[in-house]
């Protein structure tokens, strides 16, 4: 006895073209190595999981190694995992550009 055969379709759905990258595009552009001596590092935070303590340690160590480094604190952005998450995340690109940030440290998942 032969089992019946089934031709089946895909249960997923295509990625949205407006947000996700389409084939062949590059959402992350190549960049050269960074010189931290003159860099600006922004800290974005979920306002939990001891991120404030973690960032204080990072900033202290970075400042010791790179005296001219600049920081942008998480309060400049707001809680990226709070009641206003959507508005906060939407404002990130503009704020990073406004502060001329070179690096964004984003935490903390855990």
């Amino acid at each position: 006895m032969h089992d019946p055969q089934f031709d089946v379709v895909w249960p997923l759905a295509r990625h949205a073209q407006t947000n996700a990258p389409t084939a062949g595009t590059a959402p992350v552009r190549a960049r050269a190595a960074l010189d931290l001596n003159s860099a600006t590092v922004a800290f974005l935070w979920t306002y939990n999981r001891k991120g404030d303590r973690m960032y204080d340690i990072m900033k202290g160590t970075l400042r010791g190694e790179y005296p001219d480094i600049r920081f942008v604190d998480y309060d400049a952005f707001g809680n990226i995992h709070g009641a206003s998450e959507r508005e906060v995340v939407a404002a990130i690109p503009q704020l990073l550009q406004q502060h001329k940030a070179d690096v964004a440290v984003i935490g903390v998942a855990g």
Binding site: W10, R14, H15, A26, V28, R49, M54, I80, L96, V105
Partner: protein, 470 residues
Amino acid sequence: MSRAYLAAEQAGVRAIAVTATAFMGMQRATGKAIGLPDLRIAEYPGVITIDGEETFDRNVRERVFPELMERIREPVKAVVAEAADPAPRDIVCRGSFDDIQEHFHRRLWSDGLPIVPPTLDRVERFLEFTDRDPDEILGVLLPEMREATVWSVAVNGVMAGCRPEYFPILLAVVEAVADPEFRLLHAGATPGWEPLVIVSGDLVRTLNFNYQAGAMRVGSQANTSIGRFLRLFMRNVAGLRSFPGQTDKGTLGMTFNVALAENDEAVIGMGWQPFRVDRGFAREDTVVTVQSVVAISPPIYSGGDTPETQLEFITSIFGTTCGPWTFSGLVYGNWHPLLVMSPVVAKVFADNGWTKDRIRQHLYDSLKIPASTMERYFWHVAASRWKVKDAVLEGTIPALYAASDDPDRLVPMCLKAEWINIVLAGDPGRNQSRAYINNHEHGVPVSRRVVLPARWKELLASAQPKASTT
């Protein structure tokens, strides 16, 4: 966090995520889903909420910081998106029933149970039950940012074992969860909440939903397959896959809820308005509401023929089920608990002139919790130093929550009386209720009217069961 990361990268800023070990897989899976397969991560080796200060500081200095520096210094490689997805009508697998099951299980396209093979003819039969275009996009679902189309609803409806005539309800369900207010993207958060579909209206009887004894059990085809459908759809189209290393980080999680159907005869018979009218719709509509459920109370038995005796344990067990997790409602300014009452319980209230609003107000006035209990619990959840007063200062909750400086002051568990929902279902001959607690702003109740096709009656007649008992 991945969306903040993506926002930084799109602004041309080098982003580095800080993530505890257990969340690395989820971060990478989410990153890949949104077009960032090479997410740069500095790993915290352990469980942040468990580690003491000495261990935490050492881990940050000796493990997280060196990785952060490495990620900062290394050149950034350009990322190119992968090849295009299959078209809706493409055949992705041909084989026997067992072959199809294996193909779907291996790709995490199933939920661990056998699926009905989604063949073109079955999908097209579903599509007859709507006047909408199969390519119509109902919303874009996170975390994978896929387009929820009418077609994809039909495919997953077939797989879940739904009947074609349920299709108008499935479309309303997806429209509800695709509403940004529902925040489906957070269904993979650690509390592990599940959506609950509530159906109110004439279609409950037309489509043979069970709204009486055992209403919330697996068993009835309508209740069960619609509940299963939503979980499959979340898995396949939103991309919330519950398997280690995937996007779902529910610590323990819960099984899917079967759809809850309201007992229309009972609620109207005692002079109360049905749930769909509570939600702002017309009595003649059939309305689907979807909300999250993160906790379910034990059965609440309530005796006596007065509202006061009935409320004795309804109030206390409702309150203990909300418990200290109430803090999350305050943090996010959303809290929508649901009370499901069997009709005989509701009738005691109705016979004594009580409305649903009066029950809501009683629960709001009675349920209180010390502010310090919630603050302490948030510390356990996320090592947070949050205070109830912070939410008042941010404008998330009313000033009455900071009425004094006493850390043990009693504050309301429910944010608004009108946010407590009441639905009648269950055995009409037994005096029991249950509380279903939603997960703050994750999965707030969202309702949609069910829209039937022009040929509904004709289609419904053609969909009657044909199985023989001989």
